[in-house]
C-alpha cells in the first residue's frame, strides 16, 4: 500500500513526510524527521519518554499514528530552548541535577511544560500526579519535582 503524505507543523516549522499506515508519530519524528529527542521506552504509553504536545495537548507519541498528525501543531523537546537560551525548566533541571542518565528527561520536560501551561503554581502533589506518567529509574523523582517547582516559581516571577 502506498505511503501517506502528512503535512504538519513541528516546533513552528512546516514539515512534510511520508509514512506507513501503522507507523507511530514517535517513529515518524525519529525516523522520518530525524528528531530523536523523543525516546521509545515502552511503545505502550506507560513510560512517557516519547511525550510531545499536539495542539498543546500532552500525548505519548507512541500511541498516536503518524497520519493523525496531519494538519497538527506538534512540539517536541527540540523546540523547547529559544536559540541559546534554555527554557527555565531546562535550566532548573541542570541546576538541580534533576537528571542522571537523561533518557527520560525530554519527556519529563515536555510534560512539565504542559503542566505549567495549565497550572503555573502546582503543589508538590499536583506535580507528582501530573508527572506520574513519566517514568524515571535513576533519580527517585526528588530533584525532578524540586526543579519543576523551582522553575514554576521563577516563571511566575517573570510573568
Amino acid at each position: 500500500m502506498a505511503k501517506h503524505h502528512v503535512s504538519a507543523t513541528v516546533n513552528n516549522d512546516p514539515v512534510e513526510f511520508l509514512c506507513e499506515t501503522d507507523q507511530t508519530l514517535l517513529d515518524c519524528l525519529r525516523d522520518e524527521l530525524n528528531l530523536t529527542g523523543a525516546k521509545e521506552g515502552c511503545s505502550s504509553g506507560d513510560c512517557g519518554a516519547c511525550s510531545v504536545t499536539i495542539n498543546g495537548r500532552l500525548v505519548c507519541s507512541c500511541l498516536v499514528l503518524g497520519v493523525e498528525a496531519n494538519g497538527m501543531k506538534i512540539e517536541t523537546i527540540e523546540g523547547m530552548a529559544q536559540g541559546d537560551k534554555l527554557h527555565p525548566l531546562q535550566q532548573k533541571f541542570l541546576e538541580h541535577a534533576a537528571l542522571q542518565c537523561g533518557i527520560c528527561t525530554p519527556g519529563v520536560l515536555i510534560a512539565a511544560k504542559a503542566l505549567l501551561a495549565k497550572n503555573p503554581n502546582p503543589t508538590e502533589t499536583e506535580t507528582r500526579y501530573w508527572l506520574a506518567g513519566n517514568l524515571c529509574r535513576c533519580t527517585g523523582y526528588d530533584k525532578i519535582i524540586r526543579a519543576v517547582m523551582d522553575a514554576a516559581s521563577e516563571m511566575r516571577k517573570g510573568a
Binding site: E20, R30, N34, L35, T36, G37, A38, K39, E40, G41, C42, S43, S44, D46, C47, A49, T76, I77, E78, M80, A81, L86, Q90, F93, L94, E95, H96, A97, L99, Q100, C101, G102, I103, C104, T105, P106, L109, E124, T125, T127, R128, Y129, L131, A132, G133, N134, L135, C136, R137, C138, T139, G140, Y141, D142, K143, I144, I145, R146
Partner: protein, 762 residues
C-alpha cells in the same frame, strides 16, 4: 570515634557545577543507543522461544531468506562452540559456552523469550514477516521456575549433566544446583549456645528487573576487510568488545566499539545480548544492521536479578550483643550458572562485628532468563533478610534498633566474615546521624510506622585508563573509558580542574571508544568515580610534572627547582633564580617549541576501593482497607568518603532508595503455571512513579577513603540495600504484623493483617 584523616580544603570538589553533558541532555541532542543511524542500515530482529524449556530439533530458515527484503538470517549454525572453562574477560571470569547460549540458543531453549534466530531486513515490517517464516521444531520439555522446586530431586534438569561444584565428595547425579559456597568465621554452634535469645526466620524474594528506561540498542557495521564498528548502549564497551570478538572469533583490534549515551544500566548493561547478532548479521549482509529491543523483550530476555529463598538465624545476649549469625541463601541464577549468591553470602552479616558467622549459598538454575547484575548484586537480598531479623531481635529485646546496631556495628579493624579487616568505615557515623536526624524523632500519624536498616557494599577498583591532553590554549580534554550514567563526566572534570587549579569549564571530558584509549573495565561495582577519578588525578599530576619540566627548560634551571602552587609554575626558591611565574596556559602556548604536546596518560589497576555503609529510615502508612503500603517519609544516610559533586551523590542515594522501595512494595516477575512471564511491561511490572514517592532526604557522611587521592568511596550501589528491610520494619509498626516476603504488595499485607486479627481472636 575513630581517628580520621582530615580533608584538605578544596576549591572545586564539593561544589555543584552543571554537568558537561547537561545541555545536550535537556535539549534532546544527546545520542542514546537507538538514536544512532547509518545510511543503508538494515533492521535486525530476534525470533524468541515461546516455550520455557524445549529441545530444538531443527531450524529451517529457507522461507525467511526467500522473502524479498531479507538480507541475512543467523542461527546457532553461524556461531562456533565455545569452551565451558571460566576465563578472564577483563576483570570478569566468563564462561563463553554459556554467554554464547544466552545470545543464541543451541541444543535447547531454556526460558520463554530465549533467542533462537535473528534476521536483518530492509524494513521493520519485512523483518517481522521474516521471523514468522522461520520454522523451528521444538520438543517441549518439562520446566521448573521456582528455586526451591528446582533443588528437589526429580526436578526437570535445566542444564543436562550439571554436577554441583563446591561439594565434597562431588554428587553422582546431576541437579540444578550449580554451586555451593560457604563462608565461616568462628563457631556458630558455640555462639548459639551462649545466646539468651535466638530468632530464626525464612524469607522469599522475587526477581526484579533493573528497569532502565532505555531498551538495549546497537548498530553494527562490518566492512568487507573484516574491520567492524559497533555503537551500543553499554556500561562497558571494552567488555562488549571482548565478548563480541570472542563469540565471532575475531581479533580484538578489528572491532571498534563506541558507547552511546546510556539510558540507565544498573548492572543490566554489563553483558551482551544483540551485539554479536547484529555484527554477524552485518557480516553476512554486508550492510550496517541496527537492533533495538522492545520493552517486552527487555523484560523477557534481559537479566533481572535473582529471586531467592533465605533462612536466617541470629542469637544474642540480653544486652543486645549478637553472638552468632547463620544464613542459608538459595538464589536463582536463571538458566545458566552465575547468580550473585557469593557476594550475597559475603555481605549478609557485613554491617556487624561478629565472632561467629556461617553463611551457605546455593546457585540454582531454573527456566528463567539468566540473571544479570543489578546494583549491588546479591547484597540487597541477603541483607534484607538479616536486617529484618535484627529488627525483630531489637523488638524482642526491647532495644532501640539503632542502639542495637551501634552495639554490634562493624568499624575500623572489624574482621568481616568474608575475610578482610575493615579500614576506616563510616557505619557508626551513619547510625549516629540517623539517631540524631529530625526524621528519627518526628511524630508519626495514624496507621504509620517507622523502620530503619543498615547496608553494606564492597565497591571495586580495577583496570582504568584515561588520557588528559593539554590543548594549545591551556584548556584540557579528558578522555575516559567508563560510560557516564549519572554525572561521572562532571566529577572527573572537577577532579582534573582541582588538581590543575584551572576553572572547571576549561576541562572537557568525553567518553572515548575502545580504539582511542587503553583498556577500561566497565562502569559497575561503584567504581567509575573512584577508579577513573584516581586515574584522572594521576594524569593531571603527570601534566604538572611535564609542565614543570618545560618551565625548567625555559628558565634553564633543574626540573626540581620548579614548584607548582595555586595554578602557577614558579622557581622553587631564591637559588632557582628570578623568573616570572607561568600558568598552565602559558606553558601550553609554548609546548610545541619546548618538546611537543603535553598529554597526561594513566593506565592503572585502581587499588584501595573501600566499602560504603549506609543507613536508611523509612516511614510507611498502611491503608487498613486495602493493605496498600505507602512510603510517607524517607531518609538515606551514607558514607561517601568524599562527595565530589554532592548533587550526584544525593542522586545515587535517592535513586537507589527508589529502586529499593519498588523492590519492597510493587516489583516482581510473575510467572504462570505454563512457565511464561505474565507481566512483561511497565503497566503490570510496577516501578515507582512520581506519585508513589515522597521527597527522599539525604545525609552525606564523609569518612575519607585513605587510599584515594581525594578520599572517594564508591557510593552507587549501597543505597539499594537498606530500603527493603527498613520498609519491612516500618510496615511491621504500621500494621502490627511482620512480613517475610517481597514485594509487600496489598493482597499479601491485607491477608497478613487479617490472619493476625483472626489469630488474636482464636
Amino acid at each position: 570515634m575513630q581517628e580520621r584523616v582530615k580533608s584538605p580544603k578544596f576549591d572545586i570538589i564539593g561544589t555543584r557545577p552543571i554537568r558537561p553533558d547537561g545541555a545536550d541532555k535537556v535539549t534532546g541532542r544527546a545520542k542514546f543507543g537507538a538514536d544512532h543511524k547509518i545510511a543503508g542500515q538494515l533492521v535486525g530482529k530476534v525470533l524468541r522461544s515461546p516455550h520455557p524449556h524445549a529441545r530444538i530439533k531443527s531450524i529451517n530458515i529457507a522461507k525467511a531468506l526467500a522473502l524479498a527484503g531479507v538480507k541475512a538470517v543467523v542461527t546457532r549454525e553461524d556461531f562456533k562452540e565455545q569452551s565451558p572453562e571460566f576465563i578472564p574477560a577483563g576483570e570478569m571470569l566468563v564462561n563463553y559456552r554459556d554467554v554464547l547460549r544466552n545470545v543464541l540458543a543451541r541444543e535447547k531453549v531454556l526460558y520463554e523469550g530465549h533467542a533462537v534466530a535473528a534476521v536483518a531486513a530492509t524494513s521493520e515490517t519485512i523483518a517481522r514477516q521474516a521471523l514468522k517464516l522461520i520454522e523451528v521444531a521444538y520438543e517441549v520439555l518439562p520446566h521448573v521456575i521456582n528455586e526451591v522446586e528446582a533443588m528437589k530431586p526429580g526436578a526437570p534438569i535445566v542444564e543436562d549433566g550439571m554436577i554441583t561444584a563446591g561439594v565434597t565428595p562431588p554428587p553422582t547425579t546431576p541437579s540444578n544446583v550449580a554451586k555451593r559456597v560457604e563462608f565461616t568465621l568462628g563457631d556458630v554452634a558455640k555462639g548459639f549456645k551462649d545466646a539468651d535469645v535466638i530468632i530464626e526466620r525464612e524469607f522469599n524474594t522475587k526477581p526484579v528487573h533493573q528497569g532502565y528506561i532505555e531498551p538495549h540498542a546497537c548498530v553494527a557495521s562490518v566492512s568487507e576487510d573484516g574491520t567492524a564498528e559497533l555503537w551500543t548502549t553499554t556500561q562497558g564497551h571494552w567488555i562488549a568488545r571482548a565478548h563480541c570478538a570472542k563469540l565471532l572469533g575475531w581479533d580484538i583490534t578489528k572491532l571498534r566499539v563506541t558507547s552511546s549515551e546510556i539510558g540507565g544500566g544498573f548492572g543490566g548493561k554489563t553483558v551482551v545480548y544483540m551485539e554479536p547478532l547484529a555484527l554477524a548479521l552485518s557480516q553476512k549482509s554486508h550492510r550496517p544492521v541496527k537492533m533495538v529491543m522492545s520493552r517486552e523483550e527487555v523484560f523477557r530476555a534481559s537479566g533481572p536479578t535473582s529471586g531467592a529463598n533465605i533462612w536466617v538465624k541470629i542469637g544474642a545476649k540480653k544486652d543486645g550483643r549478637i553472638v552468632a549469625g547463620e544464613a542459608i541463601l538459595k538464589y536463582q541464577a536463571g538458566c545458566f550458572q552465575g547468580s550473585p549468591v557469593q557476594p550475597g553470602c559475603m555481605c549478609a552479616f557485613a554491617p556487624y562485628d561478629l565472632e561467629n558467622v556461617k553463611v551457605v549459598g546455593y546457585d540454582v538454575l531454573s527456566n528463567r532468563p539468566k540473571v544479570a547484575a543489578y546494583r549491588a548484586p546479591g547484597g540487597p537480598i541477603s541483607e534484607y533478610a538479616v536486617e529484618s531479623v535484627v529488627d525483630e531481635l531489637a523488638a524482642t529485646l526491647k532495644i532501640d534498633p539503632i542502639e542495637l546496631r551501634l552495639k554490634n556495628a562493624a568499624k575500623e579493624g572489624t574482621k568481616a566474615a568474608y575475610g578482610p579487616k575493615f579500614g576506616p568505615v563510616g557505619l557508626v557515623e551513619c547510625l549516629e546521624a540517623a539517631k540524631n536526624s529530625p526524621h528519627w524523632k518526628a511524630p508519626l500519624g495514624k496507621n504509620q510506622g517507622r523502620g530503619m536498616a543498615s547496608g553494606f557494599w564492597f565497591n571495586i577498583g580495577g583496570e582504568t585508563t584515561v588520557s588528559l591532553q593539554l590543548n594549545e590554549d591551556g584548556t584540557l580534554t579528558l578522555m575516559v573509558g567508563t560510560p557516564d550514567i549519572g554525572g561521572l563526566r562532571a566529577s572527573l572534570a572537577m577532579m582534573a580542574a582541582e588538581e590543575l587549579k584551572v576553572p572547571y569549564a576549561k576541562v572537557r571530558p568525553i567518553i572515548a571508544d575502545t580504539s582511542s584509549l587503553g583498556y577500561n573495565f566497565l562502569t559497575g561495582g561503584s567504581r567509575a568515580t573512584f577508579s577513573s577519578g584516581m586515574a584522572t588525578v594521576e594524569a593531571a599530576r603527570s601534566i604538572i610534572k611535564q609542565a614543570s619540566g618545560r618551565a625548567a627548560k625555559l628558565w634553564e634551571i633543574p626540573e626540581d627547582a620548579v614548584s607548582f602552587e595555586n595554578g602557577e609554575f614558579r622557581p622553587a626558591g631564591d637559588n632557582a633564580g628570578k623568573h616570572k611565574p607561568m600558568t598552565l596556559a602559558d606553558i601550553a602556548k609554548v609546548a610545541g617549541k619546548t618538546g611537543g604536546s603535553i598529554v597526561g596518560y594513566a593506565a592503572i589497576s585502581a587499588q584501595g576501593a573501600a566499602p560504603s555503609f549506609g543507613v536508611h529510615i523509612a516511614d510507611t502508612e498502611v491503608d487498613p482497607e486495602t493493605g496498600k503500603l505507602t512510603v510517607t517519609r524517607y531518609t538515606a544516610i551514607q558514607d561517601a568518603g568524599k562527595a565530589i559533586h554532592p548533587s550526584y551523590v544525593e542522586g545515587q542515594f535517592q535513586g537507589g532508595a527508589a529502586q529499593g522501595i519498588g523492590w519492597a512494595l510493587s516489583e516482581e516477575y510473575i510467572y504462570g503455571a505454563d512457565g511464561k512471564l505474565q507481566n512483561a511491561g511497565f503497566l503490570d511490572y510496577r516501578i515507582p512513579v512520581a506519585s508513589d514517592l515522597p521527597m527522599l532526604d539525604t545525609i552525606i557522611i564523609e569518612v575519607p577513603n585513605p587510599r584515594h587521592p581525594y578520599g572517594v568511596r564508591g557510593i552507587g550501589e549501597t543505597p539499594i540495600i537498606p530500603p527493603m528491610a527498613a520498609i519491612a520494619a516500618a510496615a511491621c509498626k504500621a500494621t502490627g504484623v511482620r512480613m517475610f516476603e517481597l514485594p509487600m504488595s496489598p493482597p499479601k499485607v491485607l491477608k497478613a493483617m487479617k490472619d493476625a486479627k483472626a489469630g488474636k481472636k482464636a
